[in-house]
């Protein structure tokens, strides 16, 4: 057990999957000697050699096509897209090719790719480097989208993703990379895919969140606890598919819900969660479904990000509004 950052937890997971399975391969732009622009793959090329961890030419569609082909020939590729804003270059390979492989071949051939990519904002990067593009991919049957909110989950979910025989888009929050530490068990452990986590138990209202907004929601739960308001916080962890059962169970107890996402309101998975609730738990509700999301502008330039990304204050305000409905 040691205190580790989100990045260190990811490196840990990659080290374990490389060690465990000689078929795993890490590749992408600058992931080798440089250890990735965020140092997530630091030391791995040194340890496992250039055959297992290698730099590619600068072409996202090429990287993901390479992954598809390697996956089909018995390898377990873990390609990296340097920033999620560059994933558009590879949409056909991800959505049109990898996500469909099992389906197309009726399971007789598959390509078990785990695509890692940083997303999200608040770190004042250049334009196109920060964005919340999960909804472009959560609408893809055959593709799982995983968004860990803390170092512990990041390690366990990444190991589960790589071991899973279907493609996974593993999204790493830029701001969380170095802003939080957890006690991380040494060695291998897994966190299940497709399963949400109740990170705070409560009885007055449910917050459903994912990614960095889970931590903002926990702050709100802690603060409101001082006023004897009991908030349940659910971390989706896998955002496609969403774990509706866990959400319904919570709402049956609290009768009120607020959905929180970092993405613009018209993007993200909040709408999918709201729709699931209206289908499966609407009779348990005592108030409308509350939503907290970023405004529907194009992702802002660096200077304005901090006002734009929804934080604890906005969540608290919405929770109170729904509680007092």
């Amino acid at each position: 057990m040691a205190k580790k950052t989100y990045i260190q937890a990811i490196t840990d997971a990659l080290d374990i999957v490389l060690e465990d399975d000689p078929k795993t391969l890490i590749f992408g732009e600058d992931v080798g000697k440089n250890g990735g622009v965020f140092r997530t793959t630091q030391g791995l090329q040194e340890k496992y050699g250039e055959d297992r961890v290698f730099d590619t030419p600068l072409a996202e569609s090429g990287i993901l096509g390479l992954a598809t082909g390697l996956g089909l020939t018995g390898w377990r590729p873990i390609p990296e897209i340097q920033f999620m804003g560059f994933s558009f270059e590879a949409v056909d390979q991800i959505v049109g090719q990898e996500a469909r492989m099992r389906f197309r071949f009726d399971g007789t051939k598959t390509s078990p790719v785990t695509i890692r990519t940083p997303y999200g904002g608040g770190t004042h990067t250049a334009e196109m480097h920060a964005d919340n593009l999960e909804s472009y991919f959560t609408g893809t049957p055959g593709l799982r989208v995983v968004m860990p909110s803390n170092p512990y989950d990041a390690k366990g979910l990444l190991i589960s993703s790589v071991e899973n025989n279907d493609p996974v888009l593993f999204m790493e929050n830029l701001k969380l990379y170095r802003s939080m530490k957890d006690d991380i068990p040494d060695g291998k452990y897994t966190v299940p895919l497709d399963k949400a986590n109740v990170v705070r138990e409560g009885s007055d209202i449910t917050i459903v969140a994912y990614g960095a907004e889970v931590n903002e929601s926990i702050k709100v739960a802690d603060k409101l606890a001082e006023d004897n308001i009991s908030v349940e916080v659910i971390d989706l962890r896998t955002v496609s598919p969403i774990d509706s059962e866990t959400i319904f169970k919570s709402i049956e107890k609290t009768h009120k819900v607020v959905i929180v996402q970092e993405a613009q309101k018209m993007a993200g998975v909040g709408a999918q969660v709201a729709s699931a609730i209206s289908e499966g738990a609407v009779l348990s509700l005592d108030a409308p479904v509350g939503r907290v999301a970023a405004p529907n502008s194009v992702y802002p330039f660096a200077q304005s990000e901090d006002y734009w990304i929804p934080g604890a204050d906005e969540i608290e305000e919405k929770v109170k509004e729904i509680l007092n409905y």
Partner: protein, 367 residues
Amino acid sequence: MANEPIVDFEAIKNDLTNVPKPIQVLNESAEVTDQEVFDSFSDDDLVEFMKKMVWERALHEQTMNFSRQGRMGFYAPTEGEEASEMGTVLAMKKQDYLLPAYRDVPQLIQHGATVTEAYLWSRGHVIGNKFKARSLMPQIIIGAAYNEAAGVAMGIKKNKEEDAIAFTYTGDGGTSQGDSYEGMNFAGAFQVPALFIVQNNGFAISTPRKKQTAAPTLAQKAVAAGIPSVQVDGMDILACYAVAKAARDYITAGNGPVMIETLTYRYGAHSSAGDDPKRYRTKEDTQPWFDKDPLIRLRKVLEDKGLWSDEQEDKMVEEYKASFKDSIKEADKVAPDKVSDMLKRTFEIPTPEMRKEIEKFVEKESK
């Protein structure tokens, strides 16, 4: 300021057109233009090449017939491209991986899929994708196969399969896709065993080759990726085979990828979905290609050698067509795909939501 420009761009541009003549073994008058290569083929080889082209043309004719009867789904005609398709695919070995495009169904069958499976693919049934051959299903997204071929070739190399390579195909239009360059560039950068074949049949649906690119040849598009490339007479099966075989030998010797441009022609429409080639090309455009027909050319050589006759060919075509009729009857017996099965094969482990949907459809489908 100097009057003479520092660079003579016009000279550089002109130099690009300075390319070798396409490789040929047998010209359109059925005269041998490369005796040495010609002599490397036995009489049996020549007969075998002819049979394959006759088979492919019969497959085309029968499939078009089925198509007119409304018994086919998507079909991309192959008439005219027999030398390019059969010549290159005959250089493949069973352990090679094929990444075909939608027009490369004959190669897929040649590589191990059954005609029944090909018909099921055409009709849009998953069984059409379940062939045992080392191949992807025919690729619809133009360019994607080139990217994936780099990955498959890297997989082959990593698996230490020394006598195997990845074969992939695209058309002249396909060379305009960024992915085709990315695929070749990756294959070159990693020196993996991939053979990129461009079947230049002159048109991408209605858009002529000239409108795709200012590059004088498509073969030279590989130069930027550091890959050796050649143009070959795509109506000459002996040349297509010899070049593909040489490329395969070169690649399996560990020399990295190769690109081949075959100069061929599609006689008919782009697809059986009803586009009319008369809208974008004249009879005068097409006639010279009929004169270059790969079957006429080799048939003449074989007849001169006393190895072939019309009666023999007619009988062969009849037998092939009868077998295609059996194949489609087999395909007719296959029940349509079930939604519950589709849901089951979307993920290895169905999601909770899907489990409910599967139950729902299983019940619906049992009624």
